[in-house]
Amino acid sequence: MKKLINKPEDVVKEALQAMASAHADLIKVHYDPNFIVRADAPVKGKVGILSGGGSGHEPMHGGFVGMGMLDAACPGAVFTSPTPDQMLEATKAINGGAGVLHIVKNYTGDILNFEMAADLAKGEGIEVEAVVTNDDVAVQDSLYTAGRRGVGVTVLAEKITGAAAEQKRPLKAVADICRKVNAQGRTMGMALTSCTVPAAGKPTFDLPEDEMEIGIGIHGEPGRTRMKLKTVAEITEMLVKPILEDLPFKSGDSVLAFVNGMGGTPLLELYVVYNELAKILGGRQIKIARNLVGSYITSLDMAGCSITLVKMDDELISLWDAPVKTPGLRWGI
């Protein structure tokens, strides 16, 4: 394994220290328990927004802390959910009196830890709501699974919900916006290579040179199918089709189109995918109202991409356009 890593066990801590010094104008880092918090937290009268999850998905979530997006983020060990004590302290640190929203990706570990944290915070008199994102169409949603995984939509939901909170809307309304983005969003991902978890030191799975895996998650979990590599047009079609059918997205719809890199794929290639995506959506009279292209919810060094579409209306578009100032996403300011 060739990596810019001193010691696998120090990687998360060193990255936190670096974020604190690189972005001192935007964020502060609290250690033991670990969380990243907006420099001006708590913002009085504003709903605080907290997210968190395993590390290894950077810039999500810590890179999205700042004005117009998250108030705090709790990083866990690589690919392992953070713990309730982190979440409780972060919740207290961002409670400006209007309550706190937890944005939780649908994984058993994240759900259970955030539930315990919410119980503890409520015990201390803080109003807490939780919204769970579960947008991954690769997972069959049934009573017999833990349900769909939370993936790409989480980034978009954090941005849009953050804008709603910035307007000082009440907790219930802010949570409803988040639920709406999740309900109207769908994602599908693919991998060209595995990722390598620092502590493991070797790739999580083997993917032969001429094969790809469709329907992967963001932790090196297996996908839906493995097959021979195809053209970018064919691959994009394979990702988009199940997304469009699932919601379903219809002719005349406006969407936010998000082409996300998994960490090991250059932006140049993501634009090639976007090109194909625009053609497919154009052919179906689906309008790309807004877009985001880049690596925002990654899986360490995995090569590959995911596509997320969210059905937009005027309100969601204006919240998307609202100013945001975080280490990972910044515009309008």
Partner: protein, 213 residues
């Protein structure tokens, strides 16, 4: 015959060592059907617990178990952190203020702990989780006690039933946790959480075996 506070601490320490020795094995089981972190998660938690022993060595059993629970909750992460954390927190509530446990006290503690795991994780028997090992263990413990067996014999029966429950997870298709994403492909593998649960009750049976009936 009773289990004293120091016996409880000896059991926790013995379990921490078992986890450390079996870290790679638990992680391998979790790599087969999960994300390959169960051994690392559990070891991080129980090493932290071990480091805390001096802080709770003079407390009552309820307080000892609660401190173990809080430590796990704040260090393990993943699904197993809140689940084992809740197990020890609830077992601690059931034994609050006690300096020793009778067989019936231990039944109450295990019952509260397992109820806590089910309340938190909402798993049913057969979902291929730690519950599949723990529920039969609780059942066997109760049956053994009501048939008049003493503490060491009942602990042994409980650990044996736990092992059967753990082995019985192999053919099951997972319906909870990460392994459920695999669907049918999760069959044929032993559940990592059921395995660490068996180690927990096996450690109790072994470390309390010398207590005379």
């Amino acid at each position: 015959m009773t289990v004293r506070r120091d016996d409880v601490i000896a059991w926790i320490q013995a379990y921490a060592d078992v986890i450390a020795e079996n870290k790679a094995r638990l992680t391998q089981l979790d790599s087969d059907i999960g994300d390959g972190d169960h051994g690392t998660n559990m070891d991080r938690g129980f090493q932290a617990v071990k480091a805390k022993v001096p802080e709770f060595a003079d407390k009552d059993i309820g307080a000892v178990l609660k401190t173990v629970g809080m430590t796990l909750v704040s260090t393990v992460g993943g699904a197993s952190g809140p689940l084992y954390g809740t197990f020890f927190l609830q077992a601690g509530s059931a034994t609050a203020g006690k300096m020793e446990l009778s067989l019936n006290d231990w039944i109450a503690a295990l019952q509260a702990g397992v109820d806590g795991i089910i309340m938190r994780g909402k798993a049913n028997l057969g979902d291929k989780t730690m519950v599949d090992a723990l529920l039969p263990a609780l059942q066997a413990l109760k049956e053994s006690a009501s048939s008049g067996a003493g503490l060491p014999a009942s602990l042994k029966a409980s650990a044996a039933a736990c092992e059967q429950g753990m082995l019985a997870t192999v053919p099951l298709v997972a319906r909870k946790g990460r392994a459920s994403y695999l669907g049918e492909r999760s069959a044929g593998h032993q559940d990592p959480g059921a395995t660490s649960s068996h180690m927990l009750l096996q450690a109790a049976a072994e470390s309390w075996s010398m207590l005379a009936d």
